[in-house]
Structure formats: C-alpha cells, structure tokens
Subunit: 242 residues, 2 copies
Amino acid sequence: MVMKMKENKYMSIYQNIVKDVKRGEYKPGDKLPSEHELAEHYETSRETIRKSLNLLAQNGYIQKIRGKGSIVLDMTQFNLPISGLVSFKELSKEMSNPPKTKVNELTEMEGNAFLEKVLELSPGEKVWQVVRSRNFDGENVILDKDYFKKSIVEQLTVEICKNSIYEYLEKDLGLIISFAKKEFVVEKCTEEDYAYLDLKGYDHVVVVRNYVYLEDATLFQYTESRHRLDKFQFVDFARREK
Amino acid sequence: MVMKMKENKYMSIYQNIVKDVKRGEYKPGDKLPSEHELAEHYETSRETIRKSLNLLAQNGYIQKIRGKGSIVLDMTQFNLPISGLVSFKELSKEMSNPPKTKVNELTEMEGNAFLEKVLELSPGEKVWQVVRSRNFDGENVILDKDYFKKSIVEQLTVEICKNSIYEYLEKDLGLIISFAKKEFVVEKCTEEDYAYLDLKGYDHVVVVRNYVYLEDATLFQYTESRHRLDKFQFVDFARREK
DNA sequence: TAGTGGTCTAGACCACATT
DNA sequence: ATGTGGTCTAGACCACTAC
C-alpha cells in the first residue's frame, strides 16, 4: 500500500493503528476504542481521529457502524490490496519468487497518431518508449509498454528501467502521481507479444491500459500492460462512497 | 454512479456542483470558486464545502491543487465510471442496445464445500442460487452466477431476478451494500459456460469473483460473472488516497 | 438513558502558488 | 502580500444502538 511519510497527525495515527492491526493488537471482529477515547489517548480532537478512521475504512481495515463502533475487518480476506495505483515494483516485492525485468527497448521517439491521441500530445512532441518483459519462474508472461512525455521526463536510462521507473520519478524527479484510469480488455496477440512473451499456445492477452495523471491533473504517462491469459490477476477493493 | 438522496448539506452541495459540471456551467479546465467563496454562497462552513469537494475529487470530477484551486476535469476522458460497486442494471441502462437477461436457474440449496468457504456459511446453511445469462445483440456473452445467504434474503422470485436483484434488495428489503472485493482472472470454460453462453469458439472466459458485504460488515453475497473474452471490459478510476 | 458514530460550525494556523 | 487549499481544534447537535 502506497503511503507517504507525512507528519500529519491524522496520518501518523492512521499508520499507528494499521500497525496495531497488523501486530494483532486488534483482531478481526474486535472493536476499536471509541472515537472519543482515541481522541483522548492521542491527545487530539475527535475530527482528527475521524480522519484517521476514515482512512482505515477506505483501505479495508475497519468498518464503521453508527451507534456501535469501528469493527476490525479480516484483512486476510482482502489479501494483497493490489487495487488502485500500486506499481509493479511494490507488487512484486511481496512475492516469494520475485520476477526479473528485461528491458527490450528504450527509445526516444515522436508521437504517432495513436500516441498523440492517448497522451494528448501536441504535433511532433517527443516521448520515451520503454518496452519491458516480466519474467516469472523462467517465463516471460507480462509485456509492459510505457510511454512518457519527454517534456516531463527528460532523461531515462536502461538502468532506471531495470529497476523501478516510478521510484525514479517520485524520489529523484519529485513527480507526484495523483490519479489514474485503467481499462481492462482481452485482445488478440500482436507480433510483439509473440516476440517478447512465452505464450504457451495462448493467442490472446489481457491488456491493461493505464492513463496516469500528475498532481496538477496533467496526463504524463500511458502504459499498456499485456498479460498472458493464465497469469493475469487483479484484485479490487471498492467501498461505497460517502 | 450510485448516490443516495440524503439531505446532508455536504451531499446536496456535492450533487449541486455535479449538476453544474454536467450542465457545462463549469467546463473542463475551469476553476471552481474558492472554498471560501463556495462557503459563503452556500451559507455554510468551509469544512462542509471541503467535504463536498473531496467527494467531487474522489469521483473524478475535479482535481484540487494546493495554492491554486479546484480544477474541473474532463469526465469524458473517464467515460463510464464503471468502477467499484455499480450493478449490472445501472451499467446496462447507459447502453444504446440494452441487453436481455434470461434466468436459467433459481434454486434454494444447501451450501456445498465451495460455497461454505467463499460465503463463510455455517454447516447446512441455505443459500439462493441464481444463474442468469446476459444477451447482447442476440448473443449470450455473460453468465452471472449469484449466491445469496437465505438468512438475509428470504424470498426471491424469477420475476425479481429478471429485473434488478439489487433494486429489490435495496428498495424492498432495505439492505445497504457497503463494500465489495473483486477478483479478476481468466479460466477455461466449464460445461455450464458451453451450455449457457454463445462462445464463438473461445475456450476461456474472464471470471469476475465478487464478494459483497453489508453495512454491518457481514458477507451476504458471492457472485461469479463469466464473460466471453472478446466482450469483457472493465474501467477503473483510482485516486491516490490521502 | 448512555454511548456510539455522523454532521456541522467558526475559527485558527500552515504550506504553497501567484503577483 | 494575498489568495489558495490542508490541517486542526473544541465545541455542538443529531441519528442510531444498546441496555
């Protein structure tokens, strides 16, 4: 779960309670102390506590019930909150057999008609193209095609692409990813899929199209993640918004 | 987008601004009035306005930028917020050629080993099984298998299943769905898929497993939605949580 | 009746962007 | 310096649950 270290009071209280839940201090089915008690314990106001608890609810840790209290949910039911904006690196480091990444292509190019459309490029605008395959247990099962606006990401090296591009963007460039739109669809394999993936006879792939936006609402990245059918999985935790 | 009519101030302000955005009162790229101005205009406190604006941001209508203001996003980019908990009925009514639903099976049964596990049933507990196929343009492309705990949904008729079960649950039974976990995966077709779907030669389906919880955090429904590969689509809008 | 979470207020100070 | 959104406070009243 992506979570910045901010010294906000409500954020640190949130992280504190998450820790308590993970440690088993609070077990599934238990009730948290009331908001009033928590406010007293953390020496803060109730509204601040409520901010922390709302975060816990959003992320599937608790369920708040009016008149009763906040009940700790069974997070193991929601194993791996892969949902949302989690990057490949964060995802893979939780796995026992970590995958290997191979950088097949890293090219600076002008946007073609397709890219101009999906990245809202101005004519002639330059982009980085990164094509990587993800190897799990000796098989290439995911093909990631990333496109970044060069006006925002000026430099990119094979070394960076081998590790986490997002780590580079966030830690080194200071870019802040804010929201993303994902589209899931199944498509026939392309020549590129045949070239870079071990398809094992499958002739379709699950394609995840990802449009990523920065804090100032500018679109800066388009990614196509192409998964061999039998290796695709996605988990989503959705809460009814209030 | 599911949105209850509550007379909460922040909720009605939210709905008001949504209407303004949809009417074109505010256009993509425009800035909303500042929180201070909105508070004055709606004769309320700034915190209440902030609640409304946070809802707008969560649902992809605006992007809030510190020091600058709240910018209206281009919702057409995020066409159909299918994300989250939207039901089939809500989804289908937005389509030009509405699909037909056929109820293949409606049976009251005891939970087998599989259901006991996914629905956390006590031994011998009864469930409703509903098997429906969704017909788009003359082809059966989705097979929905729903399981409801009988202790929560006592009665169920073919008539209800033909329309929206959720409408019945929420409007008639007063059940409130609170959150859900979805799993996406691709699987080989079963005999049932061959029986109820027009598979057009495809031998795999996209399976969406859906675990639905009520307001008091009790699991009450398990659904398996099986989509013919070429007809599967899912859109997700994810915002980095704060 | 007492305790819980949900909403709302009127202020305060802060971090950031613009001028 | 001014204006913006982000955090935080100390209260208030309400709706719901439990006893």
